[in-house]
């Protein structure tokens, strides 16, 4: 008869947490912040097609760091959850809070019951309705959930990046200002990040029903350029996107 090894629960949890933290720390970081027309998400990501930031629903976006296949599975699950909920009830009934809670439950479940915890850290952000404040939910690998008011940073070296960014954060700053601050906070004093190293997206009030919009190419270059002396440069992020905000659900007609 073999006697199973006894491992103290504290040790077990500690080992798992360490394992997950190591996996997450290997990846590059990500910042989400509020700005005057919505929420900005900036990630360091050299890939143009394997996204860290994605659209979940009309006013909800998802961002993940860590192991790509693991957070991408969570992203798709979020899209499914939101679309099913919106289809069964109404588009208005889909909210970030309940989705973030589901993620937290799932991550907590996996952390305690599975062999291997998920090596991910995710953000679920929602644009405030009627111009109200946005919501940023930070969900960690073991299922802890926290809501941030101003900004959130996830990934490796979060503490340093958050400290750097926190010093520069301003209420109701413009998209360009917020983006430049986020990029230099991600880069730190020794490095500089080029547009090709960045993945940038916004949830903006000006975009109509589907508020999510990727900021790419020329638009990104223009926003990253330092503002002309004296004049204040303000990014548009495609305000009042033509034809974009017109898709409304066919509800109640006939």
């Amino acid at each position: 008869m073999t006697i199973p090894f006894y491992v103290a629960p504290e040790q077990l949890m500690k080992d798992r947490a360490e394992y997950a933290q190591k996996g997450i720390a290997r990846g590059r970081s990500l910042i989400a912040t509020t700005y005057d027309d919505g929420i900005l998400l900036v990630a360091e990501n050299p890939s143009r097609t394997l996204h860290k930031i994605s659209e979940i629903y009309d006013r909800i976006a998802f961002a993940g760091v860590g192991k790509y296949n693991e957070f991408d599975q969570l992203r798709v699950a979020g899209v499914r959850h939101a679309d099913t909920k919106g289809f069964s009830f109404s588009r208005e009934d889909v909210d970030a809070r309940s989705l973030a809670n589901l993620y937290a439950n799932y991550l907590g479940q996996v952390f305690t019951h599975e062999m291997k915890p998920l090596e991910v850290e995710i953000l679920v952000v929602e644009l405030g309705s009627h111009g109200g404040p946005g919501q940023l939910y930070h969900v960690a690998y073991e299922g802890t959930i926290a809501d941030q008011e101003r900004f959130a940073a996830i990934g490796g070296e979060t503490a340093t990046i958050a400290a750097r960014f926190g010093e520069r954060w301003k209420k109701d700053w413009s998209l360009g200002e917020a983006l430049r601050a986020a990029v230099s906070s991600l880069a730190g004093p020794e490095r500089s990040l080029k547009p090709g190293d960045l993945e940038v997206a916004v949830l903006a009030h000006g975009n109509g029903r589907r508020a999510f919009h990727r900021v790419e190419d020329a638009e990104l270059d223009a926003l990253l350029a330092p503002p002309p002396p004296g004049g204040k440069s303000k990014g548009s992020a495609r305000a009042a996107g033509a034809g974009r905000g017109t898709t409304k659900p066919a509800r109640g007609a006939g």
Partner: protein
């Protein structure tokens, strides 16, 4: 369908994060995610829905939407539909919309039994957006047309019981840089129409009007004008098609789909064009 979401009916919403084992993953297919409830419904059928339009079967009166048209022009397509819904000989609704944005670059219009038609549009809209979000790219225009075909085919058993839904699909093909129109029959068969099409009870009259005024490369204004004229003539001949309601200020829905996306034509513009049309007819000595 073997997914964890089997038999999910609208309103019976399953909590929990929909994560599937890799072999059972429904991919970007929203209908599969919901479970094959449409097939369940078709198996049972709707009791009392008789054939022949099923306008007042034992199940009660059913609402019908009527005339919708689509035509190509230089920059894309114009789509328009009247606003009347009927229940047998009665006008059930004067303000029903039958033209909907399917996604950014396509529009869908419906004729037939209003209830399932609107449900189909809702599922179609969700499906297109769902695919785009899960896959990260939008479906091709032909892919969208095929998707709608599958939905119409799934509805076929109900169509046999009289609950016919005939959609009309049009959009701007971003890859080929032109507008395209697809028409459907009850079996889900779909066909690409080169120039224009109209469907619904007043469809024949609308089609004739468009045919007389159509040429290749119409400008946007000309195409909108022709769509409006065709609905006017259809309403003149067909009792189930609503004309411009000047008293209540209700006018047909008109929309364009171009490279810039789906854009509804403002009610003011539509009203003004109808006013001008009636004016012209009067001046020419024709009864308006």
């Amino acid at each position: 369908m073997g997914t964890g979401y089997d038999g999910l009916a609208p309103g019976s919403y399953v909590m929990g994060l929909p994560i599937f084992p890799a072999t059972e993953d429904p991919g970007p297919n929203f209908a599969a995610l919901l479970g094959n409830r449409r097939a369940d419904m078709a198996g049972g059928g709707i009791p009392g829905a008789s054939g022949h339009g099923a306008s007042s079967g034992a199940a009660g009166p059913l609402r019908h939407g009527t005339t919708v048209v689509a035509l190509r022009f230089a920059d894309g397509v114009v789509m328009a539909g009247d606003r009347r819904a009927t229940e047998g000989h009665i006008i059930a609704n004067r303000t029903m919309d039958k033209v909907f944005p399917a996604d950014r670059h396509s529009a869908v219009a419906i004729a037939g039994t209003a209830g399932p038609a609107i449900e189909m549009v809702r599922l179609f809209q969700t499906q297109l957006e769902h695919y785009e979000k899960v896959e990260g790219v939008a479906l091709s225009l032909e892919g969208k047309a095929n998707q709608l075909g599958v939905m119409v085919r799934d509805h076929f058993p109900l169509a046999l019981q009289g609950l016919v839904v005939i959609p009309l699909f049009a959009g701007y093909d971003v890859r080929r840089a032109r507008g395209r129109i697809f028409t459907y029959d009850v079996t889900g068969g779909h066909f690409e129409e080169a120039e224009h099409h109209a469907t619904g009870s007043g469809g024949r009259d609308a089609r004739t009007t468009i045919k007389l005024g159509f040429r290749d490369g119409l400008a946007r204004d000309e195409a909108v004008e022709l769509a409006i004229q065709s609905l006017y003539e259809a309403a003149d001949e067909d009792s189930a098609t609503g004309g411009p309601d000047v008293v209540r200020g209700i006018y047909p829905t008109v929309a364009t789909v171009t490279a810039a996306g789906y854009q509804g034509v403002t009610e003011d513009e539509v009203a003004e064009r109808f006013r001008a049309l009636i004016e012209r007819k009067r001046a020419a000595g024709q009864a308006p």
